[in-house]
Symmetry: C2
Subunit: 108 residues, 2 copies
């Protein structure tokens, strides 16, 4: 089981375009740039509680999107299959096959 921060980071990767600019800002600062709730609230001149509530609400939205679209779950399953394909002796002997599988991987 991944820890929650790692999971939220992945979900953010997949669904960030569905969030509002404010939600994206708070999430980026809190999860990617490691600002504290207090630092974020100072910068945006809102209460610490408002930032906290917004981030918790965004986390729920990300989980709701995943329940509907399964992008992260499918990504993990594809990643595992691609890993096995790439490690296969037969594939490794054919550079054009390795290249095609690499292209598949880059689509995620």
């Amino acid at each position: 089981m991944l820890d929650k921060t790692t999971r939220i980071n992945y979900l953010f990767d997949f669904y960030q375009e569905l969030l509002t600019p404010k939600q994206k800002n708070y999430m980026e600062m809190y999860y990617l740039e490691d600002y504290s709730l207090g630092e974020i609230s100072d910068q945006f001149e809102v209460s610490r509680q408002a930032v906290y509530d917004n981030i918790k609400r965004t986390e729920s939205m990300l989980e709701e999107y995943e329940e509907k679209l399964f992008l992260y779950e499918k990504f993990q399953q594809r990643k595992e299959l691609v890993r096995k394909l790439k490690e296969h002796d037969v594939i490794q002997k054919h550079s054009e096959l390795v290249e095609m599988i690499q292209k598949l991987e880059n689509l995620d």
Copy 2:
């Protein structure tokens, strides 16, 4: 270029879980079951214009989701790569590889 109906059908496949139950109903009846706007409006006891507006708005939403998430575009690219892999002589000689690629395909 795909005709518009085919494209909307694909987008509906990918993003229908993000629509409201009413939007899903109208879209299914109009695009999948080939009801006319008049027949849908009779069944739901709303104006023909209301059904039309709802469907047009839903079509725009599907296009907006695709602009943000590219699920259909990536699906097409993966499909093309998987097709080439499956047709490759080397792959066809190894049933376990065919099977793995089949699993990849089924994830879409």
